[in-house]
């Protein structure tokens, strides 16, 4: 008997009784071929190899990520301060946030990759409990592999975001304007009963010119009116 003789067209009751009972089974339209049986056996090998395959990939990612993270942290420690020294407070904060977020995301990615490689379930399991929950040991291993693959995927996403954040921090250091240089010292001048404190702009034989923060124009103080002159680190 060939498959065509038993096609659904020839067997209008193929999906129902008699023969199907209450199992819900349907009569297949054809028998398995030799190639399909061979593929079934090869798929079984794919199934049993799922967990090892995922954990092998996780190990490779873990190695690469750990090496990259070591380089990044070393770079922060060695050059971080010098890179941000000339930036104003606001830009320095921005760079810190970018690098900090990138580092945190990279650590999260490393953690997820490690969890994918090593697993996190430390419960003692019995074969009976595994069969009750998953049906077969092979299904349990595929479930573990699926969970590990999800963790690895999330870890890779975290690393991608980390790289974007670190790159943003680097670009900010390139393009952020340098902070305005502050004078080496401020001058406090006492003259005609007043005290002025500001940056010394210029001086000549008759007067000195001060820039005082908040004043619209520079202050010119004749030398013969000065009673006291002091150098200060700040005018506050």
């Amino acid at each position: 008997m060939t498959a065509e003789d038993a096609s659904p067209a020839a067997r209008p009751d193929a999906e129902g009784p008699p023969g199907a009972g209450d199992s819900g089974a349907r009569l297949p339209q054809r028998a398995p071929s030799r190639a399909e049986l061979a593929e079934r056996d090869r798929f079984a090998e794919l199934t049993t190899g799922s967990l090892a395959s995922v954990r092998g990939s996780a190990q490779a990612w873990r190695n690469g990520l750990a090496a990259s993270l070591t380089l990044i942290i070393t770079g922060f420690v060695v050059a971080g301060r010098s890179v941000t020294r000339d930036l104003s407070t606001g830009w320095r904060l921005g760079v810190t946030l970018c690098f900090g977020a990138g580092l945190a995301l990279a650590l999260a990615g490393l953690w997820l990759t490690l969890a994918a490689e090593a697993g996190t379930d430390t419960r003692k399991r019995t074969l009976a409990s595994i069969r009750a929950e998953h049906g077969t040991l092979a299904a349990y291993e595929v479930s573990l592999a699926a969970r590990a693959a999800t963790r690895l995927r999330r870890g890779r996403q975290a690393v991608a975001l980390a790289l974007c954040s670190l790159l943003a921090g680097v670009v900010v250091t390139w393009w952020a304007p340098a902070a305005a240089p502050s004078p080496a010292a401020y001058l406090e001048v006492t003259a005609v009963g007043h005290i002025w404190c500001g940056e010394l702009l210029s001086g000549n034989g008759s007067s000195i010119r001060l820039y005082i923060s908040g004043q619209h124009s520079d202050i010119v103080i004749p030398l013969d009116q000065m009673s006291n002159l002091q150098i200060r680190a700040s005018c506050r």
Binding site: M1, T2, A3, A6, P17, P18, G19, A20, G21, S23, G24, A25, R26, L27, P28, R30, A31, P32, S33, R34, E36, L37, R40, F43, A44, L46, T47, S50, L51, S53, V54, S57, E133, H134, G135, T136, A138, A139, V142, S143, A145, A146, R147, A149, T150, L152, R153
Partner: protein, 127 residues
């Protein structure tokens, strides 16, 4: 069903003629052969057990129909979302009995057949 009549049921013979699939379907109806396909946490597995349609010895076939084939976003989605309503399962007799003419280390009578079973999704097990 010439293959069914002429092949000695005790001798090993690799055969996947459609007649065995039909007999297996009838046995499923009579309860001589039983099968179930379950999806737990997105992993599909099957079990077919009962009498072999050819040699009548006890068969107990378990298969897992899900595998992780890649590490992209589609890998776990494939396992979770591709649960069909019915699943075809190809079973080869691996009964414990030794049949004449079987290759060394191979058990069963050599017959292969196909069953098509409804998939039962275990509640609360979607991952």
């Amino acid at each position: 069903m010439s293959n069914h009549e002429t092949a000695g049921q005790d001798a090993y013979h690799e055969d996947s003629d459609y007649s065995w699939t039909e007999i297996a379907f009838e046995e499923l109806g009579r309860g001589e052969l039983r099968g179930e396909v379950t999806a737990r946490k997105g992993v599909v597995s099957s079990r077919v057990w009962g009498s072999c349609p050819r040699c009548r010895h006890a068969v107990d076939d378990e298969q897992t129909h899900s595998a992780i084939t890649g590490l992209g976003a589609s890998a776990t989605r494939g396992v979770r979302d591709d649960v069909p309503d019915h699943l075809t399962v190809d079973v080869t007799c691996r009964c414990a009995e030794r049949h004449a003419g079987a290759p060394s280390g191979v058990s069963g009578c050599g017959v292969s057949f196909r069953v098509e079973l409804p998939v039962h999704v275990v509640p609360g097990s979607r991952s």
